[in-house]
């Protein structure tokens, strides 16, 4: 493992840029997490307690239950892409700046 002794971790964490990144990440991550868990459990709950709703036919033999189950896939992929986009575009750039400054300041060799 790399020598981490010279890093001033307290200062890095106290850095307003780190705090801003941390706040933003926390909101996005836990927001998506709660949403995905709630959305997922709607499926078994709906299939068990709202069967009449799930049996309503939308077109041809296709009913609400099938569409809802398929939507679980779309939502899961949607969350994944949204998060990846957000992380690639924002979190990574902000983290890279913090890392670069810290390495410069505390003399980690490139």
């Amino acid at each position: 493992m790399a020598d981490t002794g010279q890093m001033d971790w307290k200062a890095i964490v106290a850095d307003p840029r780190f705090q801003a990144l941390h706040r933003k990440k926390t909101a996005v991550l836990w927001g998506l997490m709660v949403f995905s868990v709630v959305y997922y459990f709607l499926l078994p709950i709906g299939a068990a307690y709202f069967q009449d709703l799930f049996k309503i036919r939308v077109f041809g033999p296709v009913n609400v239950g099938i569409l809802f189950a398929l939507s679980e896939f779309v939502v899961a992929w949607g969350i994944a892409f949204y998060y990846a986009h957000k992380a690639n575009a924002e979190f990574d750039t902000e983290a890279a700046i913090i890392v670069r400054d810290a390495e410069k300041k505390y003399g980690v060799k490139k």
């Binding site: 890093m7 890095i12 997922y40 078994p44 299939a47 069967q51 033999p61 099938i66 899961a76 998060y83």
Partner: protein, 633 residues
């Protein structure tokens, strides 16, 4: 046995792809076995070649455990899919859909959603903090010795449960497909896997998993295109499902008296509606919790994130894995319903009551049936994919258990990190042999045992012990050694204990009562059938009745066997006459309890190191600072 019991039992059976050995010979006729061996041989030869190439690259201990961190995001995504899509999801879910329709499809959703948890809160921080094992993450800011011990024990427990289910499931699967003896196939799976891991370490394991995932996806796409060409795409396909006489008959069979006033069209439509299989919603929710939170705590999945160079690559690999795994489950809908039409639930269940043979039989039927070359080639191909699946999953599991044994227990705890690199590689290989030998021994010892609940149990332990500990040490400042130790121990023990007293276990008294009921009903049933037979007009009706009589005779034999087996035995393994805990999956209780224990343990314990290290851990897990350098050293 009540319908509900049977339904949940069927689900449990399908979960691990454990087939009841219903057939003496395999699904492939003797005449065509050479074809199966040819395809198996080709796949084994290609994986062996990959292992040979990999073996040259495995020099350091990092190469052995994590392929030196040199796996790309794309490669790792395929490898995760290969590691995760066990025979249970490949064969089991297609089977569930073919027999139970909508409920089987609904069941598959949780397996994908689980990766949201992995993506959002586990993959990247673990990549930034960990080195080789789950316990590395726990030991980062907590007491290394204590957390490595509990972490390694939990990892070995989870892996062993999963491993046992795979070995037994694999043995039965190969026997059902091609009729090779159970013991021989367990040994073959074990020795092959040992070959890959021992010589090629994580490099070979990764490639075996990638090859397997590619084969699985190819096979599924080919089959689904053939299904579509015959039954039409989405809307037309579902119209055909509703209009299919085999499916209508199957629904009538499930509903029994409830189907009396339904038109054929209504019966077919019912296949696309929930509630044929799952009658206990709380059980479903409990299982869903174990899946959604347990996947993120499965050691062989976590370990895959140490093989990529950066957190960005870890993220990319989960996105790829979610695309492959989710796409695969959507295809499974068509595989399952396709085989319900093409093969029919009766024939699928005749070979294996859990439905695990749905996909292989569909392949055979689409290729032209049991007597055609193409049909048997396609069956052989699907069988070979199933075989590769078991080997790939087992290899990942053995590597995870071996790393806990060698890296955490031997290097970390016993030798206090004072070990030369050469000794570490040696320890890793010795641990691999130990775990591999153990897997073969357990596989043979557990022959004929009902291990169906073990995969669910592995997920439950991972969700109740590993997940709360990893999550809270990464995200909760106050978390410390006390919480990790208490959470790991209570989470693991609660999950196991609740399964021991759940309906998953065998309860001789209930079994005997069910068997007796079958025997009591037999004379009247036979009398009526024989009377009908005497009065039957044409040969077709006669043949049908004779078949029904043969089925009754089979049930009688099974019931007599059960009575004999449980003679003088009234209680389950832990001495209960009936289940004490009603849920099949303990997640609903054990997961919150695991979290609670980590919190209480942390609050009651004071650990200066855990507090002092928090800033470092938090900065590193969020930014990946120094992480790339940790690999280079």
């Amino acid at each position: 046995m009540t319908a509900r019991r049977f339904a949940s039992l069927a689900a449990a059976i399908a979960l691990t792809a454990v087939a009841t050995p219903a057939l003496a010979q395999g699904a492939v006729a003797d005449k065509w076995r050479w074809l199966v061996f040819l395809v198996f041989g080709a796949i084994i030869a290609s994986t062996m070649f990959v292992t040979y190439l990999a073996a040259k690259r495995v020099k350091s201990v990092a190469d052995f455990y994590t392929a030196g961190g040199g796996v790309s995001g794309l490669q790792n995504g395929w490898a995760i899919a290969g590691d995760y899509l066990s025979a249970a999801s490949f064969l089991g879910i297609a089977g569930l859909i073919s027999i139970w329709g909508y409920d089987g499809f609904m069941y598959s959703v949780g397996w994908l959603v689980a990766y949201i948890t992995v993506l959002l809160v586990i993959a990247e921080p673990c990549r930034n903090i960990g080195k080789y094992t789950l316990a590395d993450i726990l030991a980062y800011r907590n007491n290394p010795r204590a957390t490595r011990i509990v972490g390694a024990i939990s990892v070995i427990t989870v892996s062993t449960f999963y491993l046992t289910a795979q070995m037994v499931g694999g043995g039965v699967l190969v026997k059902t497909l091609i009729g090779i003896d159970y013991e021989i196939s367990v040994v073959v799976v074990g020795v092959l896997m040992l070959g890959y891991v021992l010589f090629g370490g994580m490099v070979a394991t990764t490639w075996v998993q990638i090859i397997k995932a590619a084969l699985l996806v190819t096979a599924s796409i080919v089959l689904v295109i053939m299904v579509w060409s015959q039954y039409g795409f989405f809307g037309d396909f579902l119209n055909n499902v509703v209009a299919d006489p085999k499916i209508q008959a199957r629904v009538a069979q499930i509903l029994g008296d409830g189907a009396k006033n339904m038109s054929p069209q209504e019966l077919g439509q019912r296949f696309l509606e929930p509630g044929l299989l799952f009658r206990a919603p709380v059980d479903q929710i409990s299982l869903g919790m174990a899946l959604v939170f347990g996947t993120a705590g499965l050691p062989h999945i976590l370990m895959r994130f140490f093989t990529v160079p950066t957190a960005q690559a870890a993220r990319k690999s989960v996105i790829w894995a979610m695309g492959i795994i989710g796409g695969f489950y959507v295809l499974t809908l068509f595989l399952g319903m396709g085989s319900a039409m093409k093969v029919g639930a009766d024939q699928i269940r005749a070979i294996d009551a859990g439905g695990n043979m749905a996909a292989p039989l569909l392949a055979q039927a689409l290729g032209g049936g049991a007597d055609s070359l193409l049909g048997n080639f396609m069956l052989a191909f699907v069988a070979a994919v199933a075989f590769a699946t078991i080997v790939a999953v087992v290899a990942g599991l053995v590597l995870a258990a071996a790393s806990a044994m060698a890296h955490d227990l031997w290097v970390g705890v016993i030798r206090g990190e004072h070990v030369t690199p050469q000794e570490q590689v040696k320890a890793a290989r010795i641990a691999t042999v130990v775990v591999g030998a153990m897997a073969i021994a357990i596989g043979i010892a557990a022959k004929g045992q009902n291990v169906a609940h073990l995969v669910a149990l592995a997920f439950a332990v991972a969700a109740s012990a590993n997940f709360p500990c990893v999550l809270l040490t990464l995200y909760w400042k106050r978390c410390n050694t006390g919480g990790i130790v208490l959470g790991m121990i209570v989470g693991t023990l609660t999950a196991i204990a609740l399964v021991m007293v759940s309906p998953n276990m065998t309860y001789p008294k209930a079994q005997k009562a069910a068997a007796q009921k079958v025997l009591d009903a037999t004379p009247a049933k036979l009398e009526k059938l024989n009377a009908d037979l005497a009065a039957a007009a044409d040969d077709a009706a006669k043949a049908k009745l004779q078949k029904a009589i043969a089925a009754v005779d089979k049930d009688v034999a099974a019931a007599k066997g059960a009575l004999d087996k449980f003679k003088g035995d009234d209680t389950s393994l832990v001495g209960l006459e009936k289940p004490w805990f009603e849920l099949r999956n303990p997640g609903l209780v054990s997961i919150p309890l695991g979290f609670l224990c980590v919190i209480i343990g942390s609050l009651l314990y004071r650990d200066k190191r855990a507090e002092d290290m928090w800033d470092e851990l938090y900065a590193r897990q969020n930014t990946g600072i120094l992480a790339a350098k940790a690999v280079a050293h």
